[in-house]
């Protein structure tokens, strides 16, 4: 079980974080939203030089952890680029990116990128996917667009699991940032001649968010370990993580917005951008209720592997 990412992965995560900050940090999402044609440059000019696309998550446990650490840094800055989809691309070189989709309404944050997209259903069908016109402006859509699918084969369960897990690492980075922003805001903002942070009502809300964030961090490491070790229940573990991550995001962003007050909805605050760009990850391929249904159906009466249940059969 992974209790902490390896030192190399942690260092890669930190250096990525610094590089993204140096490349513009919070400004990146603003710049790309105002000029969507710059989106594809993010990959080439910011993430490429980091070696992001040289990482092969299937190559070694260290590379898988590095991929997770990179997603977390990308999430922290709300970089509007589907790095998790690119890192999770299927093996074989036929595609540049992989997303898990709900076949009834396939969609991904794929607008404005010239990539060879693949999509996988939770049932394991692999599709070639083509982003279709018809998405809203980025300000409303966060670059989500519908996908046209053409079945081309089968996605391995571990590929599906990876494509579910990496976006949760991106979302975790967003939760890291939202909790940090809320903490900074309540320390700096004064009302009734004292910092908001001195009110217990404020403190308790922040702890609520932090417990959720920490829980996602631990489940994310667990799901990564499940992948690393090729466990037959890796998709169950990925869905368990996803369910907890979506619920955590609901709490964290609700608390962060509430503690920011009206300023948190204004585009001058990073929270406003982060909050909007977290929505596609929370909504796609399935929201909380549908993710729970999927997990419930998959585990049946066997439950999740743990102290009192046997591992799933291969």
């Amino acid at each position: 079980m992974i209790l902490e990412l390896g030192a190399e992965a942690l260092e890669f995560g930190r250096s990525s974080w610094r590089a993204i900050q140096a490349a513009g940090g919070d400004e990146l999402v603003r710049a790309v939203e105002s000029d969507p044609s710059r989106r594809s440059q993010l990959g080439e000019s910011v993430l490429g030089p980091l070696g992001a696309f040289d990482i092969d998550p299937w190559g070694s446990p260290e590379e898988l952890e590095a991929a997770a650490a990179l997603c977390r840094s990308v999430g922290y800055w709300g970089v509007p680029y589907p790095v998790e989809a690119r890192l999770g691309r299927p093996r074989g070189g036929r595609f540049d990116a992989l997303v898990v989709v709900a076949e009834a309404a396939p969609a991904a944050a794929g607008a404005g990128l010239r990539l060879r997209w693949a999509a996988a259903g939770l049932d394991g069908v692999l599709y070639s996917a083509t982003p279709r016109a018809g998405g809203d402006q980025p300000r409303r859509s966060a670059f989500v667009c519908p996908l046209a699918l053409e079945a081309v084969g089968t996605a391995q369960p571990l590929e599906v699991a990876l494509a579910l897990v990496l976006p949760c690492w991106t979302l975790l980075g967003m939760l890291d940032r939202a909790v940090a922003l809320a903490g900074q805001h309540v320390l700096g903002r004064r009302q009734f001649d004292q910092p908001l942070a001195s009110f217990q009502g404020v403190q308790f809300q922040l702890t609520e968010a932090e417990v959720e964030r920490l829980g996602v961090e631990e489940l994310a490491k667990y799901a990564l370990w499940s992948l690393q070790t090729g466990r037959p229940e890796a998709v169950d573990d990925a869905l368990a993580l996803r369910l907890a991550a979506i619920e955590a995001a609901e709490t964290v962003f609700r608390v962060a917005h509430q503690l920011h007050g009206a300023i948190g909805f204004c585009d001058e605050t990073p929270l406003s951008w982060l909050s909007r760009y977290s929505v596609p990850i929370r909504r796609l391929p399935l929201g909380a209720s549908a993710t729970r249904s999927e997990l419930t159906a998959r585990i049946g009466g066997r439950g999740l592997t743990g102290l009192y249940s046997p591992p799933a059969s291969p």
Binding site: L206, G215, T296, G301, L304, L307, Y308, S309
Partner: protein, 378 residues
Amino acid sequence: MGAQVADLRARLRELVRSEVPEGYLGAFSDDPADLEVAQRFCRTLADEQLLCVAWPPEWGGRGASPWEQTAVREEMWAHHEPRGAQYMGVNWVGPTIMRHGTAEQQSRHLPGIARGEVIWCQGFSEPDAGSDLASLRTAARRDGEVWRVSGQKIWTSYATVAQWCFLLARTSSEEKKQRGLTIFLVPMSAPGIVVRPIQTMLGPHHLNEVFFDDVAVPDADVLGGVGDGWNVVQEVLSFERVGIARYARCERLLQWAPVVLAERWAGLGEDLRGRWARMLVHARRARLLAYRVVDTQSRGQVRPADAAAYRIAVTRLDQESAEVLVEIAGSVAPDTPEARRFCRAVEDHCRYSAAATVASGSVEMQRILMSRSLLAPR
């Protein structure tokens, strides 16, 4: 973790299967035989150095790692704590005496705890000193060669069966209320001690009020220095940093439900099965948050906010899983012994979990602790 922990876990499960009756719900039921089961089980554990597994070998332990201790906590709590009251002596009374006790106190108390023969109770909380423990008023005044203790303790688990009390009392009035507190090791047979059981909704009682009326305690029964009580208590609390492995019982009961319902499981509503699956996710989450604390501890570090986060998560799990389990139990026909055992265990869990956010430090105190860390100047 690893093979050593897995072996230990397997051995504990074997012992539970062979020594603890099926359907056992803890030592403190209406049936005195249940306490006897616990006492016998403790002696069995002690014979294999499993009772005080974390203690050094010279005091009857195995010097177990934090991960082995975690496995013991999990297996015992999952099986309704068949050690009865002993966890208190084992987990912190003994270690505190090892660290602060005189040679005479160590040789007097430690062997009995290691053999599972002595039950301790904890004299901390008072009617007006709960979360604000330092406000306690039970006083000990010097009277020649002895101390005279008077006052009232409350919520004292196991006081009716305990032979000794780990008592915190005020020995002087200082401006800062944390000063002037002292620990006494008091025999419960001392004249002047009266115990009154408190009936609660939580199940068969093990909570009590304890009244001290001019109880004479010799100097030799002071633990640590006079006036050092608060520091000792802080250390005691650090021994209990991870706290009860509540997630283990939750997970065991949740995983038991589909086994009991068998072919009727699929007939439960989808929503209820979904809530059950969600609780399994939350049980895993709480377990991993506990492991986060244990991992830090095993590297010799302490992050109190992580321990607080775990406690917040696990106590909520305890209560929310109880709600889901009660609903599931409503669909169980009690027509087999296993079904009846399941329903009784769920009913017990439901009542006991109500106190999870209050016992051993309220959830509000955990939030205060956590917010101090979150909002500390960096």
